[in-house]
């Protein structure tokens, strides 16, 4: 029996690829570990290695073939002592296993595929995002852009990069440091090309030493620089949280206002996909708890850019929470020389009359999806994108609740002592008499994030959860 070698998926989301080169020809003897072929996905080229030994019987897909579906038999390998006669016609078994049941729960984007390495999955993910993400329904009523400004389609990843590049051009004391930010161009490619433009003095690769380099960043800020410290993910900043809080956040106060610490700590926060409990933690409420910090969590590309630029210019320590699953999303960014979005101001993304929904980061997308569903059922939801978690823009929320008389606070993290708990309290303190129903919250289930696809899908809040909560406060169903 010959061995059929199939087009592999280099990530669970890859559906097809280009067979750029064969490294073997018919008749060659291969042993395990030999490179058989080179395959190209969107931007990455990977080698396929043989795990079997044998003689290359037949090559079934020509070099250069594009759009070869995952699972297509591309080569037949003859095992010891077999001849060409042993080649069986490859059954057209396309190996696209149906993912375990729960993997394609409602939450399409999140659960469709696993997360891979931070290294290159972004390409695949970008594609996927383009395909499945709902159109961003924003009515940016408060966005402050001069009329006639052109818009430029940009991924959130590049919007963040552009923000850093612009600020680095503007201010020589701004520099970036973190793991894999320079030569590797960023674990998630957010710092792509910064090394090329600004050189190794200003784009610094660190060893895996979060506590140490966060402290060095704080010292550099006190010493007159404006560091941007990238954490590969915020999960790893737990190694460094002492410096973020004790050294960065408290110094201005402890020094009676003398000692400044203008620093931005940034990186992806919250759950990615199928990476388990230690890599999936949403820190929003942790940092929002700390006086002396400003905490920013943008949803779209324009805010990612405008808020990051403001953060870099801000003389205070800033915690800037990005979302890995959003990096590839492509959205409009205004073409302006200097697009700044003020820290501390929420944005009404959709105007509505029946209920207020607050959310930040990726959850804003879920809330907008929910608003669409609700609109179909005759409920008009107003969506507030918090954008900054500290200082929290209570005013925008309170004004909205005074109009709608109902509120649902949605977040991806855990509920207890969460952002929603805080907002609900403020609403009760400041607009109690306007409420027609107790505030409702939507949040992650109160467990560490499980790895299994079905359990993960059950853990994370989605649009339907928001819809259900809205119906609850509207006393529907």
């Amino acid at each position: 029996m010959s061995i059929n070698i199939q087009m592999p998926a280099l990530s669970p989301t890859m559906e097809e690829g280009t067979l750029t080169a064969w490294m073997v020809k018919e008749g060659d003897t291969v042993k395990s570990g030999d490179v058989l072929a080179e395959i190209e996905t969107d931007k990455a080229t990977m080698e396929i290695e043989s795990i079997d030994e044998g003689v290359v019987g037949k090559i079934l897909v020509a070099e250069g073939a594009q759009n070869v579906a995952v699972g297509t038999v591309i080569l037949q390998l003859l095992e010891d002592g077999e001849g060409a006669d042993d080649l069986s016609a490859p059954a057209a078994t396309l190996l696209t296993p149906s993912p375990p049941a729960g993997m394609q729960a409602q939450d399409g984007v999140h659960n469709e595929g696993g997360k891979m390495d931070p290294v290159l999955q972004r390409d695949e993910r970008d594609k996927r995002y383009d395909r499945v993400s709902p159109p961003v329904q924003s009515t940016p009523v408060e966005m402050d852009i001069p009329a006639g400004t052109e818009m430029h389609e940009t991924s959130i990843r590049d919007a963040l990069r552009d923000a850093m590049a612009e600020e680095m051009r503007r201010d020589e004391t701004v520099f970036v440091m973190g793991e894999e930010v320079a030569e590797y161009q960023g674990a998630y490619k957010v710092t792509r090309e910064l090394l090329q433009e600004f050189g190794a003095k200003r784009v610094i690769d660190t060893p895996i030493t979060e506590h140490g380099f966060a402290g060095i960043g704080v010292g550099a800020a006190m010493g007159g620089l404006k560091p941007i410290v990238e954490f590969m993910t915020w999960n790893f900043a737990m190694q460094a949280i002492d410096h973020i809080i004790n050294s960065a956040a408290k110094t201005l106060y402890m020094s009676g206002g003398q000692m400044r610490c203008p620093i931005v700590f940034r990186g992806p926060n919250g759950a990615a996909s199928r990476v388990g409990a230690q890599h999936s933690h949403d820190y929003s409420s942790w940092y929002a708890n700390v006086p002396g910090l400003k905490v920013v969590a943008p949803y779209d590309a324009a805010d990612a850019k405008g808020l990051l630029k403001s953060a870099i210019r801000d003389p205070n320590p800033i915690v800037f929470l990005e979302h890995e699953m959003m990096y590839g999303e492509i959205m409009d960014v205004p073409e302006m020389d200097d697009y700044l979005v003020p820290i501390g101001k929420a944005l009404v993304r959709r105007v509505g009359t029946d209920v207020t929904i607050t959310a930040h980061s990726r959850m804003v997308g879920r809330a907008l999806e929910a608003a669409d569903i609700l609109a179909g059922e005759g409920i008009s939801a107003e969506i507030i994108d918090l954008r900054t978690l500290r200082p929290l823009d209570s005013n925008t929320i309170i004004q909205s609740v005074k109009k709608t008389n109902r509120i649902v606070c949605a977040e991806e993290g855990w509920g207890q002592s969460g952002i929603g708990a805080e907002i609900a309290t403020r609403v009760m303190e400041q607009a109690f008499d306007y409420l027609d129903a107790p505030p409702a919250r939507v949040f992650q289930k109160d467990v560490p994030l499980p790895y299994a696809g079905n359990l993960e899908a059950l853990s994370l809040p989605n649009a339907q959860d928001v819809v259900n909560a809205v119906k609850e406060v509207c006393y529907e169903d």
């Binding site: 592999p8 998926a9 280099l10 990530s11 669970p12 570990g33 490179v35 990455a44 080229t45 990977m46 080698e47 795990i51 699972g71 190996l95 696209t96 296993p97 375990p100 049941a101 729960g102 595929g113 696993g114 997360k115 891979m116 390495d117 290294v119 290159l120 999955q121 793991e179 894999e180 030569e183 590797y184 674990a187 690769d205 060893p207 895996i208 030493t209 506590h211 140490g212 999960n235 790893f236 737990m238 190694q239 996909s273 199928r274 990476v275 388990g276 409990a277 230690q278 890599h279 289930k445 109160d446 467990v447 499980p450 790895y451 299994a452 696809g453 079905n454 359990l455 059950l458 853990s459």
Partner: protein
């Protein structure tokens, strides 16, 4: 080729089997990832098999192991069930963590495996803590902590080395120096590259070992284990090794040349080294080796079958295992 130590037919065949099981298991895991059955991060141990196999050969029953997310090989070496490990990779209820941990997070109280840790360097003090417990309980066990060249730069490693020496903890610090931490070569992350010297200022002895040579690993570990077990405190073993694959499944590993990888694979492969010795000593012929290969393939094949057919965890499992019930 590195010098190969004293051994017997029985021992060498056993080491061969153990390493081959890891290799074949990992190759299969890579394939299942390609098929979308494994998701998230999946870090393969291919190329490094001699390290854990050689260390394990010098440990006694009850000695403990703890490591990072690159953990499949350690579990197989300790005799954990290949099916249970594979089913955890696919996130099924038959996995060691009932599907709730994934590739990076598995544990076995029975086999003295203390995990699978995702935060670089975090397992190092925990492993020393196992040593503290051993000393406290006077149980005669030693703990072995595995970590990478990248992890060796984390501050908590040095806090740990100091305490471990101060308190003479029975712990071996085993650095798997595979030359890279993700895309960063050791030369780009480390001011002083001899990682075995990292404990010197605390008085922790260290040796550098050819980590591609399972017998060299076995011998170095044997000595170090004797040192630790006899109350003299910890030691560092820097295992010089190499990972053939990318950091995790989808890393194209463009930060090193293909030549560099093939040179290691062709000239220093830990499994080939043992295979050649077995043939040279006439302890096995090609047919015998093939039979072993077939046997291993069938173990791995069964594991895959189990990992595919074991059901997903029941939704009720979402809420279990967060805290223990207390009944005082």
């Amino acid at each position: 080729m590195a010098n190969i130590g004293k051994t017997t037919k029985k021992e060498l065949l056993q080491l061969y089997r153990e390493m081959l099981l890891i290799r074949r298991f990992e190759e299969k895991a890579g394939q299942l990832y390609g098929m979308g059955l494994i998701a998230g991060f999946c870090h393969l141990y291919i190329g490094q098999e001699a390290v854990v196999t050689g260390v394990n050969a010098s440990l006694k029953d009850g000695d403990q192991m703890i490591t990072s997310y690159r953990d499949h090989g350690h579990m197989l070496a300790l005799g954990m069930d290949a099916s249970g490990v594979m089913a955890e990779l696919t996130g099924r209820s038959g996995g060691y963590s009932k599907g709730k941990g994934g590739s990076m997070h598995m544990f076995s109280v029975e086999k003295n495996f203390y995990g699978g840790h995702g935060i670089v360097g975090a397992q190092v003090p925990i492993g020393a803590g196992l040593g503290l417990a051993n000393k406290y309980l006077e149980n005669g066990k030693i703990s072995t902590v595995f970590f990478g060249d990248g992890a060796a730069n984390q501050g908590q490693v040095y806090e740990t080395l100091n305490m471990a020496q101060l308190w003479k903890l029975p712990t071996l610090f085993i650095i798997e120096n595979n030359q890279y931490a993700m895309g960063t070569s050791i030369a780009r992350s480390t001011a002083q590259k001899d990682l075995y010297k990292r404990g010197l200022s605390f008085g922790v002895k260290g040796v550098q070992v050819d980590g591609m040579d399972v017998l060299a690993v076995r011998d170095a570990t044997k000595k170090a284990a004797r040192h630790a077990r006899s109350g003299k405190g910890p030691m560092i073993l820097e295992m010089m090794t190499y990972r053939y694959r990318g950091h995790s499944m989808s890393d194209p590993a463009k930060y090193r040349t293909r030549e560099e990888v093939s040179e290691m694979r062709d000239e220093h492969d830990p499994i080939d080294m043992v295979k050649n010795r077995l043939l040279k000593e006439e302890w096995a012929d090609l047919n015998a080796l093939k039979a072993i290969d077939k046997d291993i393939k069938s173990i791995v094949g069964d594991a895959v079958e189990f990992a595919k057919t074991s059901p997903e965890p029941d939704p009720s499992e979402l809420y279990t295992d967060v805290l223990l019930e207390v009944d005082l």
